[in-house]
């Protein structure tokens, strides 16, 4: 559905994105992951035909964005980082306006608006003025305007920005509900949200693609195939790290924190080495206080990818 080849965008002298290449199949749910300023928004704006690229090609459904952006926009639903809401309009009137702009025929208008409101749980505020709604509702109105014309491609730039934890869960469930009807691109720095909602992740760092694939594929590429474990021992760390590195499968041992009473180590390995680590520690005479598998795997993949200098592991 989308083919991006050597996409580059300059703002003045500065390249916001450089030589991005990737492709997205119809029906996929893709997560764009990156720190602020990494180039996520610029990439999404180009895919949404709001901006034109400086060089490189982007084709959506076989149409080049510089050739006929008008035709592409007909099949796109776009939610920017701040939802584009006319504060003085009612939710219903606003959605009808958005639908008419995207060529929804008049006879279908009421049905489409109702459908979008139902999917985003906005039925109850249909006649309310947008300016009087809470932030969570406004964000949902933003999503509703993007889906009201049933676009083939749905682009959501940080749909969960500024929401409270309960609203984030609601938003996540809503996004899951959209799966299957559209090809969806979501950008976020909420890693947990993206790993649970998306089929595939594209990690962008300083305008370049530094990793892509499923969470497992990314972990594999980063040499975090199976696990990261953390141990806390009541001993001096001298010689301890070397001893643990000797265990088959352990790739890296790092001292995370150290005090007079205890030392915390992080052990990266390609297989489950918990039993061996425990045995080694005990035979070495260390008092084992804690040993746990690190749950925040995606987070560490993300941190690793975005902290590697550009041109690092792909």
């Amino acid at each position: 559905m989308i083919e991006v080849d050597k996409l580059t965008k300059y703002f003045g002298e500065r390249a916001a994105i450089r030589d991005l290449s990737f492709s997205i199949a119809k029906g996929e749910v893709i997560g764009f992951l990156g720190l602020n300023g990494a180039g996520k928004t610029t990439t999404l704006r180009i895919l949404g035909c709001l901006l034109l690229p400086s060089s490189g090609t982007v084709t959506v459904d076989g149409i080049e964005v510089t050739q006929d952006p008008y035709a592409i926009r007909r099949n796109i639903g776009f939610l920017p980082d701040t939802p584009p809401l006319y504060m003085e309009m009612t939710v219903g009137a606003y959605l009808a306006f958005a639908a008419r702009l995207r060529h929804v025929p008049r006879p279908e208008l009421a049905a489409r608006v109702t459908e979008a409101e139902e999917k985003t749980a906005l039925r109850e505020v249909h006649s309310e003025v947008i300016g009087e709604l809470s932030h969570g509702f406004r964000q949902r109105v933003g999503v509703a305007q993007a889906i009201v014309h049933k676009p083939a491609l749905l682009i959501l730039d940080e749909p969960s920005a500024g929401l409270d934890p309960a609203q984030i869960v609601e938003m996540r469930n809503m996004l899951r509900g959209l799966r299957g009807e559209h090809t969806v691109l979501i950008s976020s720095h909420f890693l947990t949200e993206i790993s649970q909602t998306c089929d595939r992740l594209l990690v962008i760092q300083a305008g370049e693609l530094v990793g892509q694939g499923t969470e497992d594929e990314l972990a594999q590429a980063m040499g975090q195939g199976s696990s990261v474990i953390e141990v806390e021992v009541k001993a001096q760390p001298s010689g301890l790290a070397e001893r643990l590195t000797g265990i088959a499968g352990v790739s890296k041992v790092r001292i995370v924190a150290s005090s007079d009473s205890a030392t915390t180590l992080e052990i990266k390995s390609t297989r489950d080495v918990r039993a061996e680590v425990a045995r080694q520690l005990v035979t070495a005479g260390c008092d084992l206080l804690r040993l746990e598998q690190n749950e925040r795997r995606l987070e560490s993949i993300f941190m690793n990818l975005t902290h590697t200098p550009a041109g690092g592991p792909q």
């Binding site: 949404g48 901006l51 035709a71 920017p80 584009p84 003085e88 309009m89 702009l101 995207r102």
Partner: protein
């Protein structure tokens, strides 16, 4: 063109749903009423009806210029300030449809708030005679002048990032165009003819004021409207490349 009409209708709704539209309308009518009373009706000596009427349109042209700048400042600058422009630019809408929709909404609103002033020239009937043709011609002149100023205002609003900046830019452009005439009168031939003919007010408005329609003046105001809107559309198109 459907999109033009949709945008114009929404924009007109925004003028009517928010305070600013009513405030501008009320202020314009109030100021015009006071000025009409003070300048046209207030004088002691006896005057011809046409003279009073002419003075009414003379005063009103100033009001129209100020109101046009105020009405047009929000057109695109506000959308950019609040980010709502993305709704339009991510939809299958062409730039000319955005600019024309905005411009027509402001023009329709300007007509709506100018119409209630018709009672003022009718007051002349109390003590004098009135030519309907003269009144109609004066209003045609106001309409053409307003359309040119709104188009320049729309251009200023497209260039500016904030509404305040839009007012300053459009106000500056309009003042500059009005001053072309006095500036032209200070220069020598052949430059003075060109500058004076390009002036926004001195040569082209007074004929309407005294009940005279020159094709030259009508074409001038339409041309100014066209060029200002044309540049505004180009500016908006260019923004996609930046």
């Amino acid at each position: 063109m459907t999109a033009t009409w949709l945008i114009a209708r929404r924009e007109l709704g925004a003028y009517l749903r928010t305070m600013s539209g009513y405030v501008i309308a009320a202020a314009a009518l109030f100021v015009q009423g006071i000025l009409f009373n003070a300048l046209a009706l207030g004088s002691e000596q006896n005057r011809m009806s046409t003279e009073v009427l002419s003075q009414f349109f003379w005063v009103y042209s100033g009001t129209i210029i100020v109101v046009s700048v105020l009405l047009s400042m929000r057109l695109l600058a506000e959308e950019r300030q609040t980010g709502t422009i993305v709704l339009l630019s991510s939809s299958p809408v062409r730039e000319y449809e955005i600019v024309l929709g905005k411009f027509f909404s402001a023009l329709i609103f300007l007509i709506l708030i100018t119409l209630p002033s018709v009672f003022m020239p009718l007051l002349i009937l109390v003590n004098g005679k009135l030519s309907v043709g003269h009144v109609a011609t004066g209003y045609l002149g106001l309409f053409l002048l307003g359309s040119a100023c709104l188009a320049i205002g729309a251009l200023g609003s497209t260039l500016a990032r904030t509404q305040l900046l839009a007012v300053i830019i459009s106000g500056g452009m309009i003042a500059g165009m009005i001053l072309l005439f006095p500036m032209g009168s200070l220069t020598e031939r052949p430059l003075n003819d060109v500058l004076m003919a390009l002036g926004l007010w001195h040569r082209h408005f007074p004929p309407f004021q005294s009940g005279l329609i020159n094709l030259r003046d009508v074409i001038y105001y339409i041309a100014v409207t066209y060029f200002a809107l044309f540049i505004a559309i180009r500016v908006l198109e260019a923004r996609r490349w930046r």
